[in-house]
Symmetry: C2
Subunit: 248 residues, 2 copies
């Protein structure tokens, strides 16, 4: 199971080295300086498009704050989210000039960007960096495969429960919260974006959320704030085995 909390914990470090550490946990200080030389920050507002599929992208980035999504769109408008990037996640392919997916800020987002070409050079000089990126990419591939099981075989109710438990887990690890029985967190996505994530319509998302609320599995404060009175009960709805294995 991928240890995302490592990178996440390191985000608590002073100043900014976060994104360096998130990218490369073992870089020496001179390597960090090289990273420093090619980095800059960018902010995006919720709903804003960071890049369209096919755009040239001259940077790669670490997500510092907020949530960004990768989405594919078919000609007739059908949309499927294929990536959800939370703080410490990596965005972009170092040696690919253009993006393959629409990249959108789901919430307000802060990126720590690295100029792509020099970053690619750094990868070639810095073994730790490509090893670290390999680990992060393998974790992302594992997450994509769990996601494929969800898309291909789970019921609408299981999809919703799985999504909530994925967000809850990552959100909880961000807050370093005690593993209390009760869990509370905010949804970073609209119902429509949840539908794009889960391969459902927004109406079905809404109905299943209502059903889980009716059945006491979750409570809603406003539209976005979720309380899970009993984490086990939520897990039972996901269709996954008890010991987990789901991560995003």
């Amino acid at each position: 199971m991928p240890n995302r909390s490592l990178a996440v914990t390191e985000m608590a470090c002073a100043d900014c080295p976060i994104r360096h550490r998130a990218v490369c946990a073992r870089c020496e200080s001179d390597e960090l300086e090289k990273l420093d030389a090619i980095k800059y920050y960018r902010r995006f507002e919720a709903g804003q498009t960071i890049a369209w599929a096919g755009d040239k992208m001259d940077f790669v980035a670490s997500v510092v704050e907020g949530v960004a999504s990768l989405t594919q769109t078919m000609e007739d408008g059908r949309r499927q989210m294929v990536g959800l990037l939370l703080p410490s996640d990596f965005l972009g392919r170092p040696n690919r000039e253009s993006v393959s997916y629409d990249v959108t800020a789901a919430t307000d987002v802060m990126l720590c960007c690295f100029r792509r070409v020099p970053f690619q050079g750094l990868i070639e000089e810095t073994p730790h960096l490509s090893q670290r990126l390999l680990e992060m990419t393998l974790d992302e591939l594992d997450a994509a495969r769990e996601w494929m099981l969800l898309l291909g075989r789970k019921t609408a109710r299981e999809k919703i429960a799985s999504f909530l438990s994925i967000i809850a887990r990552r959100d909880a690890s961000l807050k370093n919260s005690k593993n209390a029985m009760e869990l509370a967190f905010d949804l970073p996505l609209t119902r429509e974006a949840m539908a794009d994530y889960l391969g459902l319509t927004l109406e079905t998302v809404s109905r299943q959320m209502s059903a889980l609320k009716r059945d006491g599995v979750i409570e809603l404060k406003g539209k976005r704030h979720i309380i899970v009175p009993d984490v086990e009960a939520l897990m039972d709805e996901t269709g996954d085995d008890a010991d987990g294995g789901v991560y995003i």
Copy 2:
């Protein structure tokens, strides 16, 4: 678009360096010797299980011949394929002891295995190797994301057409065939395995295959040999834009 044909073409090399080159296109000869020292071959028959989810796996491997699948199973028996490995594809996570998915030989398979722990050591000493693995993993992630669009949003008919075009493309590149209008290839999967790939039932797979045949999009010789009289016509059924972007 990932250039898989590079690795594949190199498979034509004399003797065995195939799998070395497939793993690391730029390795120096002494690095190849180190790889040689920790490699061995294994054969599996169609239908045989290579590893069960949760098993310790003491090797990683390159697929030399045949097709292997990665599959996830839920407690109640629902199954979803999450990886399909063709020749030149890589199997396993160097620094993870156990597999997360059932690995099955879909056809007779020949693997070139590398002992895992020494291989992990080699990665740490050989920058080219982790860069090469990073590229391969990013390609696999792209493929997984196309697959997610298929699972989440495509109709049964589009799923079948997409699957056929994916197999046709990879099979064609293996055979170095001229890009003729007509295309012929063998399916490496049973209807049931196709269903697991596509998130459908085997009955639906069968019905949609019959429908595509009835509509003249494909011809069947036996159950497994497919002829595509007009590649464009098949592509039109996939739901993808004309210029492609789908690969496995």
